[in-house]
C-alpha cells in the first residue's frame, strides 16, 4: 500500500543570507495613465518578500537534488510556478519528468488516482511585491519505496534554508 507523506513549513528568513544579492528585480514597463490604472486594480498583500526569483529557483533545485541523492525513484514531479519568471528557469525544471503549473492540484489528483509515484512541491513563496502568497511550502511525496531518507533530507534542507519547524503528515493513498 502506498502512502502520501506531506511536509509543510513556512519560510521565516532569506534562505541565503551570506550570499551577495544581484539587483535583478524587473517590472513590466508601464506607460501612461491607463497602464498604472490597470496595475492598481491588482490586490497587494502584506506578506514580506524574503527571497528573489533566482533564490527561489536555487531553493527548488536543492530540494530536487535531495530526490536524486536519496535514490528514491520518482517518475513525475509537479511544481507550482507562478509567472513572470524573472529570467530563464534552471535546466532541472525543464526535464521530461517535471511539469510546472499555475495550480498543481488537478494534475496531482490524476496521478494519485492512477497510482503513480510522484512528488509535488507547492509553494507560495513571494518573490515580488505584486505576487500573492503566504511564504508557505508544502511537499507531497507518494511512492511505494522506502522514502524515509528522502523525507529526512528534505526536512533538514528546509530547516537549513530558513524554514520553520517542518510538519509531517502521513496518510494512506485513497483512490
Amino acid at each position: 500500500m502506498s502512502k502520501v507523506i506531506e511536509l509543510s513549513s513556512r519560510l521565516l528568513r532569506n534562505p541565503y543570507p551570506q550570499n551577495p544579492k544581484l539587483c535583478a528585480a524587473q517590472t513590466l514597463p508601464l506607460q501612461g495613465e491607463s497602464d498604472f490604472l490597470a496595475i492598481s486594480l491588482l490586490p497587494v498583500g502584506n506578506i514580506p518578500v524574503l527571497l528573489s526569483f533566482s533564490e527561489h529557483y536555487q531553493l527548488l533545485v536543492e530540494l530536487l537534488e535531495c530526490v536524486d541523492h536519496s535514490g528514491v525513484e520518482i517518475e513525475t514531479i509537479l511544481l507550482r510556478m507562478q509567472m513572470p519568471a524573472g529570467g530563464r528557469m534552471p535546466k532541472l525544471f525543464l526535464q521530461e519528468r517535471v511539469l510546472m503549473l499555475q495550480d498543481v492540484q488537478t494534475e496531482e489528483l490524476i496521478l494519485h488516482k492512477a497510482g503513480k509515484p510522484y512528488l509535488v512541491i507547492e509553494d507560495t513563496l513571494v518573490r515580488h511585491p505584486l505576487e500573492s502568497g503566504r511564504n508557505n511550502i508544502c511537499i507531497r511525496i507518494c511512492t511505494t519505496e522506502d522514502d524515509g531518507s528522502l523525507i529526512a533530507m528534505i526536512s533538514e534542507k528546509l530547516q537549513n534554508l530558513g524554514f520553520d519547524n517542518v510538519e509531517q503528515v502521513a496518510r494512506e493513498r485513497s483512490l
Partner: protein, 278 residues
C-alpha cells in the same frame, strides 16, 4: 506520422478587458465561456464515445499571468463548474511561455503513451490592456485570441514532440538552427513558424531559406504568442488548402529561450474553424 490534427479553432479576442467587462473576474468569466464553447466545437469532430476518452485539457498561455500571480483571479474563474460538465479536466500551464503547449503535450504523452486524443488550448488576451503587451520591440505588434487543437495520436513517437531550451541567449537564430536540423531529416515537412515583424523574420528567411514553409502572417494577425503556428495552419485549413495529407512542423519560441515543435499531419478531413473577433 503519428500525430494527426483532427480539428483546430481560433477566436481572436480583441475587446475583452477589465474595462469592457466591468472587472477582471468578469472578463475571465467571458473568456471561460469562449474556452468552453471552442473546446466543445473542436470536440464535435469525434464521436461521443471518443469524446468520453478525452480525459485532459491543457490551457496554455504566455502573457496571462499577472491577474493569477497577484491573486485577482484563480484558475477556477476560467473553469466554472457549470461549464465543466462533460469536459476533460483542465490544467493551466504558462511557465514555458509560448512553448507551454509543447511542454504540456510532452508531459501528457509521456504519461499516457496509449491515449488516442489530447486537447490543448492556447489563450492570450490582454485583459489588463497593458501597453507592453500591445506591441514592443521583442515581437512588434501582438495579436490576442484563443486557439484549441484536438490531436489524434495514431501512434506516439517521442520525437514527434520536441520541448527544449536554447543554450545561448541569442535565441532566435539558435531556434532557427534547431528547426533547420529537424526539417533536414528527409520527412518532407512544411514549417509553421511564429509570426514576427520583418526585422526578426529575416533570421528565418536567411537560415531557413529553401525549406517549405507557410507564409508569415504577422502583418495580418500580429504576434499571437504560442498560437502562431496553429493559427497559420487554421488560416490555411479554412481556405481549403490542405487537399492532400501534408506533414507540418509547428514551432514556437519563447522570449526566455524555451522552444517546442510538433510534427503533425493534416488532410482534407481535418476540421478548421476561424471565428469572428470578440
Amino acid at each position: 506520422m503519428s500525430l494527426y490534427l483532427k480539428s483546430a479553432a481560433f477566436t481572436p479576442i480583441e475587446n475583452i478587458t477589465f474595462a469592457t467587462s466591468g472587472g477582471l473576474q468578469e472578463a475571465f468569466v467571458r473568456i471561460g465561456e469562449i474556452i468552453s464553447n471552442q473546446s466543445s466545437r473542436v470536440l464535435e469532430a469525434i464521436s461521443s464515445d471518443a469524446r468520453a476518452e478525452v480525459d485532459r485539457h491543457f490551457l496554455c498561455s504566455t502573457m496571462i499571468e499577472l491577474p493569477f500571480t497577484a491573486g485577482a483571479v484563480s484558475t477556477g474563474d476560467l473553469n466554472p463548474a457549470e461549464q465543466q460538465r462533460g469536459m476533460p479536466v483542465t490544467s493551466f500551464v504558462n511557465t514555458y511561455e509560448c512553448a507551454s503547449w509543447g511542454y504540456s503535450l510532452r508531459y501528457y504523452l509521456r504519461q499516457n503513451p496509449t491515449a488516442r486524443y489530447v486537447i490543448v488550448s492556447i489563450l492570450d488576451a490582454n485583459v489588463l490592456d497593458l501597453s507592453f503587451w500591445q506591441s514592443n520591440e521583442n515581437w512588434g505588434k501582438s495579436g490576442f485570441g484563443l486557439g484549441t487543437l484536438l490531436l489524434e495520436v495514431e501512434s506516439f513517437n517521442r520525437e514527434d514532440i520536441t520541448a527544449g531550451c536554447a543554450v545561448t541567449y541569442n535565441t532566435t537564430p539558435e531556434f532557427a538552427t534547431i528547426v533547420r536540423k529537424m526539417a533536414s531529416n528527409g520527412k518532407d515537412l512544411t514549417l509553421s513558424l511564429p509570426f514576427f515583424p520583418e526585422n526578426i523574420r529575416q533570421i528565418f528567411t536567411r537560415l531557413l531559406n529553401g525549406f517549405k514553409q507557410l507564409p508569415d502572417l504577422h502583418d495580418r494577425w500580429g504576434h499571437c504568442f504560442g498560437s502562431d503556428p496553429w493559427l497559420n495552419i487554421i488560416s490555411h485549413g479554412v481556405a481549403g488548402r490542405f487537399q492532400e495529407r501534408e506533414k507540418l512542423l509547428a514551432c514556437s519560441i519563447a522570449l526566455n529561450g524555451y522552444y517546442c515543435m510538433a510534427e503533425v499531419s493534416v488532410d482534407q478531413d481535418s476540421t478548421f474553424y476561424l471565428a469572428e473577433s470578440v
